[in-house]
Symmetry: D2
Subunit: 503 residues, 4 copies
């Protein structure tokens, strides 16, 4: 920060480069802001600068880029150990420093841009070469550091975790430095290369897999938590499959995990998959296996956000299952709907404020709610409804349950199909499967009756079905035109919603 | 080729972009040249164009780059099968077409360069973003294709082989298209990421390794060919180690192989390593193991040229051996000197032409050669000498052998130490080990008495010794200052040469 | 049972065979007794007889014994399934039936005995042949069945479990049939062959071992129960080793498991091994490893009782550890003393009845007990002492603890060293290690402060130390002369006991 | 030998034991004979006696048999090393000494036989116990040694090799000592237990199997020798399967190897299997796989003779193939007919001597032979025929070939079906497959046109077909009634033979 401007000035010489001062100012501002964020006494700023100066090798010139010896491995280890020893706040400072002081050399870039636009440049080979130099000069200096780190043992995992920190800084808005965003972009690019699908290994997890892996599988399973050995054994036992992508550079670490149930028909509830143990020790009867139900998919590495893995895992697993069960015809998820209840609560709240709570249900429905909850019409009924949903009490009453079913089902269909963010489905699980080319196929009532399921999505779950011949087309239509493929059941519920609820 | 200019013109709009015509002309010229090269009737140019148009996905805009569905996998397979089915000449055409028609969009690059230089651009975040766009626009369209190919089974191996073809085109000068060079650069960049050391697996090859691997080890061993099962078993048996790097994306394929002999002293000949079988079935006696002699290192994938593997393999193996034999103190190669004999023949030829053949040997030495070969002084003696070297006859005469030893040893020392190419050692094996930081340690007479050894390097071999504490320094000095670390023996021979031979 | 006598009579012909009637009577009696035991209505006696008649192949004659086709595999499976489907009581009947109806053919044996003693038999070859026939005729018919069963998948495990049932029948005295004892002997002989050490596989269990194995390790650990994943991970982590014998015929099934702690000094308490987690994630420091402490050994297969496994496992592990840590010098167990407390309670009870409870402690000691427990001398003090021991309350009082330490230590030393069963140490753990040649080395106070440890052995544990050079001699002395090798500490405590307690 | 009689006399006390002298004399005689056999100076008889006295532990008494410590492991190693160091002749002496001096204690046996026959013995439990003692006393002392040896590393393999030596002694009639036969029986019994099928591991050998295994597979393949890497790769490649039994105690050692070709129809010649490489690198097309042809089965361990392995291997492989190819319907061998040519030569020779050579062929056939070989009728024609067969010249003449086909085919059918040894098929390959329950299904002309095939069996090979539903029945019929299951083709040829040849 301090010594930089001097060097900077010294090297400024090209006439067309006039925004030096702006740069300077912007950098200072950004650093000031970041300083404000971290109230704790900064740990050894000079220690940070020292270590960076030592371990981040200077960028070789374009000409000698292939003749530069790699920096000694201990440098990478030193960097890794230093970073790991930092407190959280210090990590922010350190990453800011790294991203700002060892970024792209803007001046070189500008010089090459000038050169590229030179009128005299008429030779194709030269143009290509200037472009190549430009490409090289657009490489931030820290990228080389990362490449070296990736080579030492545990280096790739270190970078995955580093990126998780970077993402957290960005998401939590601890820093809004554009350099941090660049750092993120660079890391993501590198990780995308290293975690390219061709380098991943599809592993079937069984009860014979290493305990290390199974413990992680158990730990990472966020969708339907694993309770004990028996529960875990069940999920890798007969009529179940558990697959994971692993990577040579992170041995023993499942990156993304897919749980599959092999069933006769596409399951319409999760209880039969994770609670019932009838088939526990039996042999699989191939004739009873017609469907593969993906009932849980979990990414385990926050630092691999934006690196496509889940999509490819599903595709590979489908192929694997087809080769094991050539006659298998039905592929579908059984997915949770996180966010539905809170969206609904928000909606009810808003309607209440706007005094039009009764728009969501038909008159008949309201009457039934009033009767069942023993409340008077109007505000009180809306409140009763909100309370019912937040407590999940209706689950214990058959009458309430049957009153609410049509209402909640159509609201949920709308939430999944109609609510958008930048044009894509708001619900992240829906967005994931629709990107993969799945069809929003069936909403299921009382599909997850666990407290968690009732609280999150009023017990509703949804099947995103993979019609294999349609998925490429669906995927393209969704990604490019934001068009959602949905079944008649779903579309029917949506149109009921549109008719009934004046949203 | 045909439709491009139209599009081109249509999109040209920025004032500073004036070399359009130049570009156009250059492209046409390049295509014309390439057409001339391939005399054979071109196989379906339109078939090529069709397939490329179909499988090379259009580049998504910068904004939607993360929202684009990957092209369907069959496209990648189609591309791979089509390419594999082509005749050699057609491959050249196809690669030219791919590299020219699906290259970087120069216009976008130019537009962004203009934008970057815009005086009004004073905001740091915007600068960074324009740079990122520029970086994105510098990506050739075919790079995306390669990424998709890397994801299908066998895709990475396909690209390694594709690059081998590209390298052959460049080396053999079949095409000097700058686009082909760009294509090579892009492939090399991708392969460097995918074959980053962190993603490689060090495997010790033993007699228990899969036959598939051992057959390849046997096949690839070019330095000292393997003759039969027994020979092969010997090289993975007691007092020997064989290591290879393998890669998750190319299972069963050793990428670079290192053979090591575990000895008491640093070996001064190859016979004792690959011919003598005294220790064949014995147990290793740890007390007799002080040295690790790297007696063969082979890269197996032409397409990975320029991707550092051998260097890292040696480093990893050193660490592996140190952990197995904590007291091991000596690490050295025992290396062939390919090219020495032909260099020497060339030299003798040139001296003869220049009439100063006798400059290479002292008067005394010439007299002995004359005596031993029964030839008269002058031209005849030079010819005798040339003949001796080309036939290797001297090997059978103790007298000739002792006459020639000092002469050939000092000439060889000069060849290795004094002959340069762009400032670096001309001999590729020397260059490899010196880059790694080894010291040119000892020349060994009668070190390879096989016909091959006598023919290639007059029976001389050389030890490049790895003094572990010095290698980083040596490597840097060599790579940056072209300084060669050499022992007194080698330097003594070099100075003898300089005294005796008026080169 | 019913048809046998007829056959029997029909075949009786040799004059010297006169105890037919006795046999007959004895068999009937034995069957009658067994019928009395099982009060439940016997499940299909005829079903049992049917199946046995079908699946137990008739014994081939001596001449054709190598020319008999093995019975079809389904027979073995049928037998296994039938047996598994039986209720516990029916199993007893079934085993009795099998062992009586398909036993040795006594008549043939007797005939051959007569032949062997024939005065005319003067030819060596003939004698050897008659002996071989005799050997063959001494094979019970069910032995062949067992051999066939061992060949089908899961057959060996079935027989191990079958023997566990047989042992339970014998131990629980449900039947005292001599045929059941013979059945047991036959099974034990077969299992000893199949589980011969040369056929066992020593496996080191780590966190990377299959979950299936680790769950079993966790389950089987009876000595110091495993509480959770972390606890389990600890026992296979740094400074710990876990080894098991497995067998090709029972994949995934550890047969006997040994837990080892690697420590600086021989541990004197179990808390530091299974409770403290200081070293949990650290790397092992070889310099801190001087001792191997066997802190738990568990046999997992009741049916392998009497088949030496633990002894061999310890020996193999010692060799394994010596090759991993060449300087390791100390090998010792840290063993529980099951039965000490209940033995002591029994003793106190008996002394009380005999009115000489005060013989066990010195006067001074009794006074301290009285003071500490606020009880009056005599019976009341004895009762207080008994209560203290049964509740373990003394653990919470430093005073009581220091009063009781010398008393309990010397009583325990006596229990271990002086109490015998058929001349061998009464305590089974002591007996095991003494058979292996270990020395009774050190009693440790407050060595297991868990409720279980206090309840079982008043917190005392003992080290049986393996002085490798002495173990063969010690083992032989113990097994043959019943002499116990013990340290001075132990002998000192024993002599204190002898002085103080008038046992 | 020397000290024994003394002990012997001392222990003789039971009145019924009168053949002591006979025994004594017989032993002396046997030793004398064996001394005569080995002409070489006997290596240290006393060394042998010393080592045996040291390492063969005395037999524990019946009562203490479970309380005896195993002899120290070094004893077993000493025995193994000593034996391995012996010359061939000395091995014979050593084995004789071992089998005689450490055999069964005949006196104990006799005493127990007397006890068993005691009229007073009327108690069932006592009878059973005396029988158990008798069983124990019938165990030769060296059996315990073998058990101990089996426990040390490499011990089982040592015993397998030891038995190979014993078998060679018996087969070559170097010794006809009954003790050696007993030794053989004991070893065979032990090996049968240890190599019981439940303890064997079925392994599929592929190109990915360890080189160590594949080299052995290549080496052991005696039926159709493997020539090189390509040939070997072919036999484990597509449309081929190679299976082996391995055993935990002999890792890396295939015990019996089965080669299978997967074909459309049951192969009628070996060339198409081991010579043609059309399908070499292709993927298997499941639709073209209807038959499994076992074209080579080799036992690798001479010492396991008489231990059923091949039979079980075929059964397991059939099951394996059925699970891989559920629709596979045809299982058959394609087997060589070793011994046919030499049997035929013998026959012709005998007929010639008896002057009735012309009985084997019809008149018409003789005429054709005469014409084709240009020989005169009678003796000369017979000689021509013999020469044709021994040289295999007829292969090169279509005419001769078609003349000889019917003759040789019917003779061969007779050789296989009609020639017996102790009532079973004389040809060992036929005997093996018939024991397994196969049907002699089809003789194939020009099925093995290699020089070896022509020399051994006039190019004829035979399919033994496994009709899975019939094999148990066929096996029992063959083993018990010596009845051969044969097809109409075979029976037709046999009856032609009977009509034509007056054998």
């Amino acid at each position: 920060m301090i010594s930089r401007p001097a060097v900077w000035t010294a090297r400024t010489s090209v006439s067309c480069w006039r925004h030096r001062a702006a740069f300077h100012a912007a950098l200072e501002a950004s650093a000031a802001i970041s300083r404000r964020w971290s109230s704790a006494p900064v740990r050894g700023v000079s220690a940070m600068e020292d270590i960076l100066a030592r371990v981040v090798a200077p960028l070789p010139s374009y000409e000698t880029r292939d003749k530069s010896p790699p920096p000694p491995e201990p440098h990478s280890l030193e960097f890794m150990n230093f970073y790991r020893s930092l407190e959280k706040e210090d990590k922010v400072d350190f990453l800011l420093k790294l991203s700002q002081d060892y970024e792209v050399d803007h001046q070189s870039v500008a010089e090459l841009a000038v050169k590229l636009l030179d009128n005299q440049l008429r030779d194709l080979a030269t143009i290509l070469q200037v472009e190549d130099r430009l490409r090289y000069s657009l490489t931030p200096r820290y990228k080389h550091l990362f490449c070296h780190i990736s080579r030492v043992e545990g280096g790739v995992k270190f970078l995955v975790d580093l990126r998780a920190d970077v993402l957290e800084i960005i998401t939590s808005k601890v820093s809004e430095s554009p350099h941090i965003r660049d750092l993120n972009g660079t890391l993501r690019g590198l990780l995308s290369e290293w975690f390219s699908v061709g380098l991943l290994h599809l592993e079937r997890i069984t009860w014979q897999s290493p305990c290390e892996i199974l413990q992680k599988i158990s730990q990472y399973e966020a969708v339907h938590p694993v309770r004990n050995w028996t529960d875990l054994k069940r999920r890798v036992g007969p009529y179940r499959r558990c697959y994971a992508f692993t990577h040579a550079a992170m041995p023993g670490e499942p990156l993304v995990v897919l749980h599959v149930a092999l069933t006769e028909d596409i399951s319409d509830n999760i209880q039969s998959i994770v609670r019932e143990f009838a088939t526990f020790d039996s042999e699989e009867d191939v004739n009873k296996i017609n469907s593969a139900v993906f009932y849980s998919i979990s990414s385990t590495q926050a630092g691999l956000q934006g690196v496509e893995l889940g999509n490819y895992l599903i595709k590979k697993v489908v192929r694997e299952l087809q080769s094991e069960f050539p006659h298998m015809a039905q592929f579908s998820s059984l997915s949770p709907i996180p966010g539905f209840s809170s969206w609904l609560q928000g909606l009810l709240n808003q309607y209440r404020k706007e005094g039009r709570g009764f728009d969501l249900l038909s008159e008949q429905e309201w009457r039934e709610v009033e009767k069942a909850t023993d409340s008077s019409p109007g505000t009180q009924a809306t409140d009763s409804l909100r309370k019912l949903i937040s407590t999940g009490e209706w689950m214990r009453s058959d009458r309430l349950s049957s009153v609410l079913e049509p209402v909640l089902m159509r609201l949920c269909a709308w939430y999944l199909h109609g609510e958008k963010r930048r044009g894509y489905a708001l619900n992240p699980v829906a967005n994931f499967h629709l990107q993969n080319g799945a069809t929003m196929w069936r909403l299921n009532w009382r599909a997850d009756t666990s407290p968690r399921g009732v609280a999150n999505s009023c017990s509703i779950m949804v099947n995103y079905r993979y019609f294999l011949k349609e998925t490429p087309k669906n995927s393209a239509l969704y990604l490019q035109n934001k068009a959602i493929s949905a079944s008649e059941q779903v579309l029917g519920l949506v149109s009921q919603f549109q008719k009934n609820s004046k949203l």
